[in-house]
Symmetry: C2
Subunit: 200 residues, 2 copies
């Protein structure tokens, strides 16, 4: 039996990212966001939505650049802190004891201690309401060797990323592997080989 | 030690959604997507990226509407099938044994057996490359009572949603709760009460 929840911004789960930027004074700043996702495979693009009041908002527009930093569960206190404090009044990197590192391809800082740093060039900024959605083209991904699987790409069981449950305002971890994609569904209706990499 | 992975569309984890639409002939169709996210809190908006070659692409543009259906882990075979087959050649609802239900607020079908159905009106379609990003305003969320927590909103431990790991092409479940958001980070730097609902 379904119940109406009305119009609400819900989706389960969302990722948890920390967005790095330089402000007008050149100070490195970072803020946490959970309204983010992959927007395009080629060119690779990510989107992240940010409120206008955030200190990072102007920084990203001015420098046309940002980084998307992905944490492991061990960094949950730092991730949450980056969402609570404002770079307008605090040097969040210093308070959190983390290290800003200038990205190689864009004018924005990554976070050295985070296992994955994604460098983005701003492509679009769309004002949707209380949030502006920034779409950035990924120019480079840097990843700790410790989180890479045998194929050379990140393995979520090694990365142990945080995820977010809207409404519950809680962070969760990754659970067990459920199934291989582009595979488990073939048992239904005798579908042949996938015509394209449909999810991607 | 970090290693360069080059420019890649990576983010961990992504949600897994099934997008419902009516095609030009009025037939209900649905396809799986993992490039999706929350785009704005107010008005509530979701974004989902779809390749131009997909049958759903034209349907969404024509009807200016779509649904975002969230599965539990038990529906993983159906979710994967909706990503493998094409509505141009198959009646996917019939093959999967699932029931399309016309949404109350938009011209698109939801999936009755899925625990959460989100009804969206198309706001923006941005061509980014191989994917076009659709941003929709959420006009209504319908949820099974069985997945609602005490506060009346979905609880991920009851919903047991699927998540996707890009590069690994695998579905995973939700793991244990790690921490409360807007709380665990207060221990760093003695931050006071949050000035705003920063992640949302």
């Amino acid at each position: 039996m379904k119940r109406s929840l009305g119009p609400r911004a819900l989706l389960y789960p969302t990722p948890v990212v920390v967005v790095g930027s330089y402000d007008a004074a050149g100070r490195p700043n970072a803020m946490t966001a959970a309204w983010a996702g992959i927007a395009c495979s080629q060119p690779p693009c990510l989107s992240v939505s940010i409120r206008r009041a955030r200190h990072s908002y102007g920084s990203i527009l001015e420098r046309r650049a940002f980084t998307v930093n992905l944490a492991s569960q061990d960094l949950v206190r730092e991730v949450d802190y980056f969402g609570l404090a404002s770079g307008a009044t605090e040097d969040k990197f210093t308070v959190a004891g983390l290290t800003p590192v200038r990205a190689g391809t864009v004018d924005a800082p990554g976070i050295a201690e985070f296992p994955i740093v994604i460098e983005c060039r701003l492509l679009h900024a769309t004002d949707l309401g209380v949030h502006t959605q920034f779409v950035g083209e990924v120019l480079e991904v840097q990843a700790d060797e410790a989180v890479l699987g045998p194929g050379g790409l990140p393995d979520v069981t090694l990365l142990r990323p945080l995820l977010y449950s809207p409404g519950q305002s809680a962070y969760y971890g990754i659970g067990p592997r459920v199934a291989q994609a582009f595979s488990v569904g073939k048992r239904i209706g005798e579908v042949g080989s996938p015509a394209e990499s449909a999810h991607q």
